[in-house]
């Protein structure tokens, strides 16, 4: 041992907090701001406003929102779990196509299915007109289900949201131990008994998570509810903010809505915790699909076709028909401008989301301290928070900052800076990041987790800094997952309506806004072009899902 202690010239004193932790904390902290802003309104006393809300609109909002959640929850559970069980456990004609086609309704945003069915089923729409013409009825001669109702809204949202349950239920049924199901057969359990006694209970965590996702989307919906004239929290926030110009009241509503969301989140977390218990090793074992014949096969095909037909084929057909019928087709110069706007916003948000997610995920990987973990979890709750709530949470602090900067500039230089943040692309992009960061973060974290820890160690021992390891080792390895995540964020931004509506810069419209405006003016046929464009973009994630299904079960696709 040398007695003279001679430190290496490359040695450094250990910093208290390194750059990655700092960056992770900063990103997560900023992303979480809107949620805290809204939550703080639970504590702000606003006496009068609240009493006014409680005595007027609040009971209706709560009632409608709860009924909607019950209806959509039940509906998505029945359709999602039922079809998932059929396509995983049975063989019937067309099953291989149906099992991915069942994702298709996911591509249709709630407001688009509302516009199409609204136009289709109205008094003046083709269905009722056709019936009247065919049967010679007059206005008061018949009863027809009213699409612009709570029931109609529930049915339509169910049709486009059941794929969330289907996705997770299908994965859960697929992973279920074949042995368990075979054992139950040898014990004489019939198909119904197997479904209710074995399949459903084992898949319960996945089903709860799927329904929770569908309900989060339900709470988020603005366009469909407005079009179908159902007053929910989200439409209430929108009306209170933009219609009545009462930001504080809107924030209060948003805070209550956030409580609904937190309940859902807790429910989902809890169910995911339970999911750990039934990991099985039979991942690649071919499931013993039972062949259905005759009438049973026909019923199974019908059961799987129905949601695809109602949730995807009919809206698509209606949009194409409208687009063809409206003479200008809607594909005009304005359409091009809007497409450019929409795609630019989508690309910007997707790029930033993936970049920030990568920093967050890598920072967490380098120093997985409890603080960093807590912050990143906080930064990724945005996916559960309705766009309208996030918009409120972004607008309030941004407006304050803008006023402060403006006042300071006036005092210091005698010039007005106007709006720097609010009402600019910054605000709307930030809202997208808050809402969609979880999508890209989960993808980044999951794909980084697949890169063994010894890769980092090997890189460092071979002389590379953590930064270089990220760019030279991790990035090439996780690039496909990041691109997929970017696509998901991109498409979600294109479909997004409530936050865009509240936060977009003046005169800066997107395809979703355009469709929304036209539909509000009952120019449904003209809305077909932007709606079609959004729907086609929405097919991207469906294709990704279909491909991942093909990959996850080699030898199972026939």
């Amino acid at each position: 041992m040398t007695d003279i202690v001679q430190p290496s010239p490359k040695a450094f004193r250990r910093p208290v907090i390194d750059g990655w932790t700092l960056a992770t904390a900063a990103i997560a902290g900023v992303i979480a701001v809107p949620i805290f802003v809204v939550l703080s309104y639970l504590l702000v006393p606003t006496g009068d406003i609240w009493r006014h809300l409680a005595s007027t609109v609040l009971p209706r909002y709560v009632g409608n929102t709860l009924w909607l959640m019950v209806g959509v929850g039940t509906g998505t559970l029945v359709i999602g779990a039922g079809t998932a069980w059929l396509v995983t456990l049975y063989r019937f004609p067309g099953r291989d196509v149906l099992q991915w086609a069942l994702f298709l309704p996911m591509a249709v945003p709630g407001y688009i299915i509302a516009y199409t069915y609204g136009g289709l089923m109205d008094f003046a729409g083709p269905v009722q007109s056709g019936l009247r013409a065919m049967l010679g009825w007059g206005r008061n001669d018949y009863w027809f289900p009213h699409i612009r109702s709570l029931g109609g809204a529930t049915a339509l949202l169910t049709l486009v949201l059941y794929p969330y349950v289907y996705l997770l239920a299908r994965a859960a049924f697929t992973e279920q131990s074949v042995c368990v199901l075979e054992a139950s057969r040898t014990l004489g359990a019939g198909p119904w008994r197997r479904f209710f006694r074995i399949g459903l209970p084992l898949a319960r965590p996945a089903l709860v998570a799927g329904v929770a996702l569908a309900l989060m989307e339900t709470l988020n919906d603005l366009g469909a509810m407005q079009h179908l004239a159902v007053d929910t929290f989200t439409t209430g926030i929108f009306r209170t903010w933009l219609g009545m110009g009462q930001p504080a009241a809107a924030a209060q509503l948003a805070a209550v809505l956030l409580v609904f969301v937190i309940v859902l989140l807790v429910l989902e977390r809890w169910s995911r915790g339970g999911a750990r218990y039934h990991q099985t090793s039979s991942r690649y074992r071919a499931l013993p699909s039972l062949r259905l014949k005759g009438i049973k096969a026909g019923l199974a095909v019908a059961a799987c076709m129905m949601p695809i037909l109602l949730g995807f084929a009919i809206p698509l057909g209606v949009l194409i028909w409208w687009a063809i019928r409206s003479q200008a087709l809607g594909f005009n110069a304005r359409f091009v401008t809007l497409t450019v706007n929409t795609v630019s916003l989508g690309l910007l948000a997707a790029f930033l989301a993936v970049l920030l997610s990568l920093v967050l995920a890598y920072g967490t990987r380098l120093r997985p301290t409890p603080m960093v973990r807590g912050l990143t979890r906080l930064a990724s709750v945005g996916y559960a928070v309705p766009g309208a709530v996030i918009a409120v949470g972004v607008m309030l602090p941004f407006a304050t900052i803008d006023r402060t900067i403006d006042a300071w500039a006036k005092a210091a230089f005698g010039i007005s800076t106007g709006l720097v943040l609010s009402g600019t692309v910054v605000a709307v992009t930030f809202a997208y990041l808050v809402r969609f960061l979880a999508i890209s973060f989960n993808a980044a974290e999951a794909s980084l987790a697949k890169v063994g820890r010894s890769m980092d160690d090997a890189g460092r021992v071979l002389g590379r800094h953590p930064r270089e390891i990220l760019t030279q080792i991790h990035l090439p390895l996780v690039r496909p997952s990041l691109l997929a995540a970017a696509l998901l964020v991109f498409v979600d931004v294109i479909k997004e309506l409530p936050a865009t509506l509240i936060l977009r810069p003046f005169n800066f419209d997107t395809l979703a806004i355009y469709a929304y405006d036209l539909a509000r003016n009952e120019q449904l046929a003209e809305a077909a072009a932007p709606a079609l464009a959004i729907l086609v973009a929405g097919l991207g994630p469906v294709i990704l899902l279909a491909r991942s299904i093909g990959r996850s079960r080699p030898g199972h696709i026939s």
């Binding site: 290496s8 021992v461 390895l477």
Partner: protein, 348 residues
Amino acid sequence: MSSPALSLDNLSHAYGTVQAVAGLSLAVTPGEVVCLLGPSGCGKSTVLRLAAGLEEVQTGRVFINGQLVGAPDLHVPPEGRNIGLVFQDFALFPHLTVCNNVGFGLRMTDTARRRERIMAALGDVGLAHLEQSFPHMLSGGEQQRTALARALAPGPKLVLLDEPFSGLDTRLREQVRDVTVEALRKSGTATLMVTHDAEEAMFMADRIAVMREGRIVQAGTPIDLYRHPASLFVAAFFGELNRLAGTARGGEVETRFGRVPAALADGTRADVVIRPEALRVSLDGEDSGAVPARVVSVHPLGRSTRLVLALEDGARVKARIWGLHHPAADAAVRLALDPAQAFVFPAD
């Protein structure tokens, strides 16, 4: 005076409440291969990670080539230590070819010289023909050799090996071990290797340090440790043992096989430990002084044969004899002990 390539001074390290390393000191001189041998969980991998800078030092000091690189308030990150590390899972970069994996640690811009170094490193492990392959196309042995070439290519003064052969099947292991020893010797680097396999340690090492619960319990040449284990733990690590209980009296312990010298105080309870190969087995009647026994079972292992024997009082002992000629099961035999191969330790 040349300083050791690696010197660990009184290292202690804890993960939460688990003490992984407890006051460990060790030095490796240039050109020397030292093995840290111990059961899993004894802290040997932590020592390696501390030496590499993958863990930050909590207590103690780490020197590389005489320079302080790790202390409680001082940390040279792994990228600043110029060492080679071969990982248990090899950790080859899956998106890079063998050539680029090996070249990853080379920071030279001159492509011709760089290529020369890569090819030399690959040549030393006999893989020059696979330079354009990707890791997933290689066999386990080839992957291990690529990992070794990658660690050696930058010419480190110190190479760390973390269970480098545990991912390979037995047959392959011996072959890869030969290549590894040869390449390490040729490079002249100091090597610290971690393993739980005593045979592997004896094959590879100039010196072995046996670790238990975060401490080095004995260090020495492989022959030293085999012939003069300082404790039952060390003796047991180098193979199967017969353990006989006894009591020290007059500098000796009385056993079934006669007296064995013991440097223990009178009355101390002792374990007498006998390796199976220290028992001489002869057919009944040939060796009248020996202890009679009966063969219970016979396990021919190729080079040697393992016997399980029952003594007259029913106690079982194991013996190992060379070759394939062996007594039949149930045969009566006589056993004699080579006292030089019996070890006496105070009982736990």
